[in-house]
């Protein structure tokens, strides 16, 4: 029923028929299903449509002359054997694969975790540098002690 409705939607003109055979060739089985019936009707009554079809059929015969290929049994075996092998990944590919994760949750959490590492390192470094003595008098004493070559008390 749907097909019948679709067929009525398409009005076949000689111009459209020409486009059809230009694109799909002369064989009605290759024409779009929804336009096939109307195209065949036009073909029955139009000499020009018949001429267009004949013209396209010459190229079709040539295209049909190329024989079909048959894959070897060895190829099938190769395919079935190959699927068990895990893809070889280098370190970078492994890291990216790990970073992106496999679930939606991991897609967000892992990159966030990776970004947290330099941030935490920066905070750690910042706190440690803050503990370093900045009092100028102590620094001066240390310098004098070093120059005098004896330990500071």
């Amino acid at each position: 029923m749907n097909l019948q409705n679709n067929i009525h939607k398409y009005k076949m003109t000689l111009e459209r028929f020409s486009q059809l055979v230009d694109a799909y060739g002369s064989e009605p089985k290759r024409w779009p299903l929804e336009e096939r019936a109307t195209a065949l009707k036009l073909l029955e009554k139009s000499i020009e449509a018949h001429r267009l079809q004949q013209s396209a059929s010459n190229l079709d015969h040539l295209l049909d002359s190329v024989p079909i290929s048959v894959p070897t049994a060895m190829l099938r075996q190769r395919i079935l054997a190959q699927r068990y092998k895990e893809p070889v990944q280098d370190a970078w590919q492994w890291f990216i694969h790990w970073l992106m994760g496999t679930t939606v949750r991991e897609h967000f959490l892992r990159p966030a975790f990776a970004l947290m590492i330099p941030l935490l390192f920066g905070i750690f470094l910042g706190f440690n540098l803050a503990d370093y003595p900045t009092d100028e008098s102590i620094l001066f004493e240390e310098e004098v002690s070093l120059l005098a070559l004896y330990p500071m008390e």
Partner: protein, 176 residues
């Protein structure tokens, strides 16, 4: 496909048996080389196994498989881009198949060479619709284009094929 997504090896073997001939024919017609076509088809099925979870139930399996093979063929073309295309290296699709006559074999070879001279998109469109018997909607989906763009590609491709074949040998091919 759902079974393959669950890691069912038997279902995968059935999928290979069902689609191997069609995909191999597609790759061979795209590349005109047995060894390259074998590699492309093998890689197609490896990807299917590894990325089965990416298949959407609303997509037709054969269309999805053709898309993967087509993308791999496009990658292949990109890799060899810049290399001189040697049309004498074009192989007859099945050299072991007995040709009914020397002339028929020559014609088949000339058609294959002419197909290789088409731009990749035009060649893909013709092969998908003409040889692979995909519907216009399916072929357009594989190429990620509209149906009108597909028809335009096929019409231009067929016109160019005619020109090439006529130029190659008017006597052999007659009046196109």
């Amino acid at each position: 496909m759902q079974q393959i997504q669950d890691g069912d090896h038997q279902a995968f073997a059935m999928l290979v048996d069902r689609h191997l001939v069609a995909l191999h024919g597609f790759a061979q017609r795209m590349l005109s080389n047995h060894a390259d076509a074998d590699d492309i088809v093998q890689e197609t099925f490896v990807r299917v196994w590894q990325k089965a979870h990416q298949w959407q139930p609303q997509a037709k399996v054969s269309t999805w498989l053709h898309s993967i093979t087509h993308n791999l063929c496009m990658d292949f073309y990109r890799r060899i881009k810049g290399e001189t295309v040697n049309i004498t290296s074009v192989e007859l699709i099945d050299p072991h198949q007995p040709a009914t006559s020397r002339q028929q074999q020559d014609v088949a070879l000339q058609v294959q060479i002419a197909l290789q001279q088409l731009p990749e998109t035009q060649r893909s469109a013709i092969i998908l619709c003409y040889y692979q018997n995909l519907s216009n909607r399916e072929a357009a989906d594989v190429l990620s284009i509209s149906i009108s763009a597909l028809e335009s590609l096929m019409a231009r491709g067929r016109r160019k094929l005619k020109k090439i074949l006529q130029a190659q040998s008017a006597d052999l091919l007659g009046d196109l």
